[in-house]
């Protein structure tokens, strides 16, 4: 049941995200959430690259997990301890889209070096926890 929900949510978000990428030709007022979660994702990325465990611990919900398009699941503890994080130091999030779904915020974006067409496409589910946000789940797939 849980897996079905996650799969449905992912499919929905990806389909909506692709649609949303056909944005306007003029100039927009970004939502407050786009600005806010862009900064949060940068903070998370910075903590990953520095292997800053206290900050990661604060940003990640207790049941945090990463699900990859390959089907692999990486649990919180393993993800925090991954030794490759220093390689992420100059990767930046782009094409940020954030959906308000009840009290949750679902961010999707591409993670790559500036100017690179590849990288990974990410869907993050953030949940409110008192006066801050914590990352509950991440869905990750190669960006085309």
């Amino acid at each position: 049941m849980k897996h079905t929900f996650v799969a449905s949510l992912t499919a929905m978000l990806i389909s909506v995200g692709v649609y949303a990428d056909h944005a306007v030709g003029g100039a927009i007022t970004m939502t407050r959430y786009v600005l806010q979660f862009n900064e949060l994702e940068k903070t998370l990325l910075d903590a990953q690259s520095k292997h800053d465990i206290p900050t990661l611990d604060e940003l990640l919900a207790p049941a945090f997990e990463v699900r990859k398009s390959s089907g692999e699941v990486v649990i919180r503890k393993d993800w925090m301890e991954q030794p490759v994080h220093a390689k992420l130091s100059d990767v930046v999030p782009s094409k940020m889209v954030v959906y308000e779904i009840g009290s949750y915020a679902v961010a999707n974006f591409r993670l790559a070096k500036p100017g690179d067409a590849g990288g990974v496409f990410i869907v993050d589910v953030w949940v409110p926890d008192a006066d801050k946000w914590r990352l509950r789940a991440r869905f990750e797939s190669p960006a085309q």
Binding site: G26, M30, T31, V34, Q82, E100, K113, G115, G118
Partner: protein
């Protein structure tokens, strides 16, 4: 089982390391200290090839690069007439209270210390934006294109209002399509943006227009619906700040070719969701401006004086 998991993780770790290593990015677009950006309409700047090449050819510090945060002029038109005409198109069902509030807001914005910030922008002939706004007309559209609108639909709604004679054809106007809370703009309303401005050609004239939606349903937090809000109408109160943002960008950068910074940010973008000092209204809401006797919470605007800054008034 644990071993398999560890092995998998190791493989993924190596894969990630390769994916993000510098060698994997050898074919990326060249991006350096000379790279210039312009607004993309998608919330991030796109490379302005012409400006970038000019900067590279100059090979040294360009005047626009003296301050990396500065907003600079890119030779396009600026709206410098004695007043800027604003036209509302009420799309969908609106309460009289919300309409009254937004009419009052626009009727009192011109001449205010807040809008005066825009008088720091000028065209190539050093003609400046004037601190004057006229709400010159209103039209009603009863869901003529349904409740799910594309970007092109917004332009069509403007064109239809003009061709029907509901609004005049005015190159010195900003046509604002204001959509009700049950209307979605499908290119990213609420998930990427709260509003946008653009220009198009109608009857051979360059027409400036904007979309601003009531975000109550789709993005109450992301688009600033507060409770309480200064005038007790959360959606309309939230729209005020976005309308100020879009109108300020329209007059300073009507064709997306005049005033913006190296990241593609226009004057409104540089201060988006930055309100500065606020006060508490009698109903407990936060506000920072008073226009025509009503309180509003409006973002600050980029003042194009000196190295520039976000300010509430000028």
């Amino acid at each position: 089982m644990q071993l398999v998991k560890k092995s998998l993780l190791s493989a993924v770790a190596v894969a990630c390391a390769v994916a993000f290593s510098s060698s994997a990015f050898a074919s990326q677009l060249r991006s350096d200290e000379f790279t210039a950006y312009k607004p993309s309409g998608k919330g991030f700047g796109v490379v302005d090839q012409e400006a970038t090449e000019q900067a590279r050819r100059a090979g040294s510090v360009h005047i626009e690069r003296t301050s990396s945060n500065a907003i600079t002029y890119h030779n396009g038109p600026v709206m410098v007439a004695s007043t800027t005409n604003v036209y509302y198109i009420w799309y969908g069902t609106w309460s009289s209270a919300a309409k009254s509030l937004l009419v009052s807001f626009m009727s009192n914005l011109g001449g205010s210390p807040a809008y005066n910030v825009n008088t720091s922008y000028y065209n190539g002939s050093k003609q400046y934006v004037k601190n004057s706004v006229t709400l010159a007309g209103q039209a009603v559209d009863n869901y003529s294109l349904g409740k799910s609108l594309s970007d092109a639909d917004i332009a069509t709604i403007v064109s239809n209002a003009i061709s029907a004679g509901s609004l005049p054809l005015d190159t010195n106007g900003s046509y604002m399509v204001l959509t009700a809370a049950d209307v979605n703009e499908t290119s990213g309303f609420g998930s990427q943006y709260c509003g946008w401005h653009d220009h198009t050609t109608i009857s051979s004239k360059d027409i400036k227009y904007a979309f601003i939606g009531d975000p109550t349903t789709i993005a109450p937090s992301g688009c600033g619906v507060n409770s309480p809000s200064p005038n007790g109408i959360g959606g309309a109160d939230a729209m005020v700040s976005v309308m100020y943002h879009e109108l300020s960008e329209t007059v300073s950068d009507p064709d997306i070719s005049a005033w913006y910074d190296r990241s593609g940010n226009e004057n409104g973008d540089k201060c988006a969701w930055n309100f500065g000092k606020t006060f508490t209204t009698s109903n407990g809401a936060s506000a920072n401006q008073t226009l025509g006797g009503k309180n509003y919470l409006m973002q600050q605007m980029w003042l194009n004086v000196g190295s520039g800054s976000c300010v509430q008034k000028y």
